[in-house]
Symmetry: C2
Subunit: 412 residues, 2 copies
């Protein structure tokens, strides 16, 4: 039998009615002839309730016990989903991580899946089971303790099962109906993509389009798992959602696949830094140690042995960054005239695998911004992405203009 | 190190504050030099919430999935208790049933513990752990699925661990402060017992004094586990609660240990039954098959080949019993003139191991009831118990009079 993995997130299994609706989708795939592995999250709100209890017991809690507590939400949903499928006449049973088993590393709260032996589930399918309902987000460590994969880990569970059981596709049911060219709340011409390449999805996800956990996309890319993101609140259809796949499977595509943005950015400038070999390390090591997530970096041309060093970081880390810089100055590690923060900035990026073969994307982007009188503060580029830092008040304008100029409202 | 088992029921772990209070009691025993096995129930209300969801999915649910869902409440408490102990500086970790492992039969919802191999917990104690927090009520079946022991099963878990780990004592923390000579709400002279014999506790429990699950007392009796029932809401003291133990450990005791009662009883009479060999079986087999819990039975002296047959059963099974009797009559299996139910009755019992060696207890009981003009409808006796069925309106009066006449307000 061909295999399918279907993953349902917390809002899709929030109560028995929704579990029943999800189970109907599973039943429809079974009717088409698939053996289905269903991965479930905890009912929405349940994980937060348990995390709250854990934090109430102690500030510096033991991660192993955190995992033992927090993993129970998925177990409840898995049992309820199996019961609902049985009630519909579909032969199903629930599996907890240790029963499959989902073998992980021993790093609690952020374990990585090492192996999923498929003997147990295959024996169940051979014995007539049509559906294996697996509790997502969890596994078992080498010493037999329960582990969890980190927030959003059920996506990773789903992709890992799709790879281990050679599934035809891995469908991720969530509360959005797919991946968009940009956020429809910012640009009303935003269009749902039918397909997107893994690499593009990774750039979009890490830039803030939080549809899929980044790790699950990386895993899907490595094992060539066809990943489909779709809404559990819409009519069923084979064309629903967005397929995340290898670029070879995308026949035609726009040069630019999407425009991403992030508005909670800040620009920090160290004014008049003594320019000497090793100065970048002297600045960015203490920032890293202080936990500041430095993103874009630009260094002005040096004049008379001094330069300005500018970088961006999340807006809520400005104080952390300032404190770290002043401390380094007091220790004599660096020397600068002043540190200036600009918290009214945003990052806008265009992403697309087509950029690798098409010239002039950067030029077109910069001209469009210039035509709209938007000043660029920092630029960074990668093979498939160009990002600029601009004044925050121009963010919506920039997104809309770039969406237009790259023709994202129209399919390729 | 000497071992102690401490079990905390749902109300004793209802929130983090209460878990903290329970953890302090555990810490105090660790400070005395004990290695402690803590058995926890689900936070009160949680099991009912999950049972509700299971019932919402389907009427005829799969017991294996019920167990997978419902067992998760204990896992949450076990983790939270371990975290709280760690925060207090006590080395502790949680154990789920399959991790210990608690090996049970495969009868879901009512599994029986078959074995508790002690290698894993002993290794943890040897490595410096002072407390093993075990999720009560659950185990693992021979084919690796989660089982539960039935409602109140955490008491049984506690006693089984006390037996398997040769614990000095098994303390059951609950919301009552011990076992009483009778219900204080019915008789204000009711007195808390310091000690009670296993056999007496069994008779009291099955008669409605629902402090301990009956199975846990049977298990404690078989393995000679000293069982103490005490409140988690009172000051700690070595004399707290009631010790349930072998009768050899009770030096002095009253002939009668307690007066039990049950008011939800009904008396059923089959009038003018054809009296022939096998008639009792012909009546009580269909009742048993219909699920009627017949308790006391009395048969009148036969006259002219016909007799009246009277029995008691729970008041809410009257309709069930009537239907079964009429069906048996229609099938020609029995013949009677009429079936009459009296739902205004109650059962009152006196219980005490001293009755085995003391004569005249029954006579004293009957005379006391007669002096109070209470008519007895049915009598049954066992080695350590005499029960009577009386009109319900006299129940309180009977309990108070018997409590007085057997001197239960005074210690032996």
């Amino acid at each position: 039998m061909p295999r399918l993995v279907m993953k349902f997130g917390g809002t899709s299994v929030a109560n028995i009615d929704r579990i029943r609706r999800a189970a109907k989708r599973v039943g429809a795939e079974v009717a088409k002839g698939y053996d289905v592995i269903v991965i479930v999250s905890a009912m929405s709100g349940k994980t937060n309730e348990m995390v709250g209890w854990v934090r109430e017991t102690s500030k510096l809690y033991d991660s192993a016990e955190y995992d033992a507590v927090v993993s129970s939400g998925e177990n409840v949903t898995a049992g309820l989903m199996a019961l609902t499928l049985q009630e519909m006449g579909v032969q199903a049973r629930s599996w907890q991580g240790w029963q499959v088993p989902v073998l992980t590393t021993g790093q609690h709260e952020r374990a990585r899946i090492e192996d999923i032996p498929n003997a147990n589930l295959n024996a169940a399918f051979d014995a007539g089971n049509k559906v294996a309902v697996v509790a997502g987000f969890q596994g078992v460590s080498p010493d037999g303790r329960i582990t969890t994969l980190g927030r959003g880990g059920s996506d990773t569970t789903a992709v890992a099962f799709a790879a281990a059981f050679d599934a035809e596709r891995c469908d991720i049911y969530t509360d959005v109906d797919g991946v968009y060219t940009t956020d429809p709340r910012v640009c009303d011409k935003a269009r749902k993509l039918d397909k997107i390449a893994f690499e593009e999805m990774l750039e979009l996800a890490s830039l803030g389009a939080k549809v899929l956990q980044t790790r699950s996309v990386e895993l899907a890319m490595r094992y060539k798992v066809k990943l489909r993101v779709l809404s559990s609140f819409e009519e069923m259809s084979d064309a629903a959602g967005t397929l995340v796949c290898s670029e070879e499977e995308i026949m035609e595509s726009n040069v630019v696949a999407g425009v991403a943005f992030s508005k909670d950015e800040a620009k920090m400038t160290l004014i008049s830094v003594a320019d000497r070999p090793g100065i970048a390390a002297a600045i960015f090591m203490p920032l890293s140690e202080a936990g500041v997530n430095v993103d874009m970096i630009v260094q002005n041309i040096s004049e008379e042995g001094r330069t300005d060093m500018t970088f961006s970081c999340p807006a809520d880390q400005v104080l952390l960054a300032e404190t770290a810089m002043k401390a380094a100055k007091e220790r004599g590690e660096i020397n600068f005239h002043d540190v200036v923060a600009d918290e009214a900035v945003a990052k806008v990026s265009v992403v697309g695998i087509g950029m690798r073969s098409a010239a002039g994307v950067a030029a077109k982007m910069f001209k469009t911004l210039a035509d709209n009188e938007i000043n660029i503060k920092i630029i960074t580029t990668s093979e498939i992405k160009i990002s600029v830092l601009i004044e925050r008040k121009y963010m919506e304008l920039a997104v809309q203009a770039l969406h237009d100029v790259f023709g994202l409202d129209k399919a390729a």
